[in-house]
Amino acid sequence: MYLRSQPSRGPTPRCCGFTITEMVIGTFLMALLAVLLAAAVATFARPAAEVDGRTRLALEASVAAEALARDLGGYLADNSGVPGTLMQYQFSNWIPSSDGTTLVLNYQGTPPAPVSVSVTYQQQNYQLVRILGNSVQTVAVHVTSFNASLCNPDGSPNPVGTCVRIEITLTYPDPSSPRQSNPSFSGTYVLIGVQPPSLPPQ
């Protein structure tokens, strides 16, 4: 009698790698995490970028308004510590250009200074600049539009109005910025300059 040898029925060695089911589950979990990550970025990164842009606009608008408020206060700021008399550097008038891109503020000079001193506001290369004599100061950046026109106290346009309406549009990032991707923010600020009261008669 011959016994036929039987193949061994012991435990077979496990193959390396993973099954198709494991791969599907892994892919599903990865997709789920990616969705969660995208939602987290949209929730936190977008407001952070918005805060950045809006803060820059608010700061630039604030400094522009401060500069205009200083020059529209009735007098031109003189050398510190020497206010002089009430006649010196008193505000005379404002002259917006016909196209509104330039605003000239005239003040009474004092000897030996010129009889009249002029301060000019205008937009240059996405900057709002203040020009006094040969001095050019950058008041605000990210300026995409500057417009000045005469108006009534309620802001309605009037070529012979007693007030001046100043519209400043700020955009971040502005067209000159190397960063030209979204998001971008723009704000238009409207300021109305009121004539200073005339000195009462003596």
């Binding site: 892994g26 979990l29 990865m30 995490l33 969660l36 990550l37 987290a40 949209a42 929730t43 936190f44 977008r46 407001p47 952070a48 970028a49 918005e50 805060v51 809006r54 803060t55 608010a58 700061l59 608008a61 604030s62 308004a65 205009l68 408020a69 200083r70 529209l72 206060g73 009735g74 007098y75 031109l76 510190s80 510590g81 020497v82 206010p83 008399t85 009430l86 006649m87 505000f91 106290p153 802001g155 519209e167 979204n182 998001p183 971008s184 923010f185 723009s186 704000g187 238009t188 600020y189 409207v190 300021l191 109305i192 300059g193 009121v194 200073p196 009261p197 009462p200 008669p201 003596q202």
Partner: protein
């Protein structure tokens, strides 16, 4: 695979940690914008339609009525109205003639919580 998932979870936790900072920045931005609000805002955000917000807010640059206040502060008031009711009009000349005034120290402004000027302190010498 497990390491990648753990990394994603940790990144998510890190992003969630940014939440208090974003909220703090938003509050400070609100405070900053409340001082000077734009008439029109236009937002272009990633993956969102362009948003336009109109407040039609107009600000007035109102000089002080007192000429010496103008002279010494040289700054107009930034107001939402054309006049300041707490700034009375000057009906008479504050001083006879035009005396020469020197200012031994800088003008100091008193601000309220919103940054508005509530008082002006100036020390002058009249010759």
């Amino acid at each position: 695979m497990l390491e990648v998932q753990i990394a994603f979870v940790l990144l998510g936790i890190g992003l969630a940690g940014l939440c208090p900072f974003v909220v703090m920045q938003l509050r400070q931005l609100r405070s900053l914008e409340s001082r000077l609000t734009a008439s029109t805002y236009v937002y272009h955000s990633v993956g969102m339609a362009t948003r336009t917000a109109q407040s039609n807010q107009i600000y007035y640059l109102v000089p002080w009525n007192n000429p010496w206040a103008q002279k010494l502060t040289t700054r107009a008031q930034l107001l939402p109205t054309p006049s300041n009711t707490s700034d009375p009009a000057v009906t008479s000349q504050p001083a006879a003639g035009f005396p020469h005034v020197t200012q031994p120290q800088a003008v100091s402004l008193t601000l309220d919580g919103n940054g508005n000027v509530t008082g002006v302190t100036a020390v002058v010498q009249v010759n």
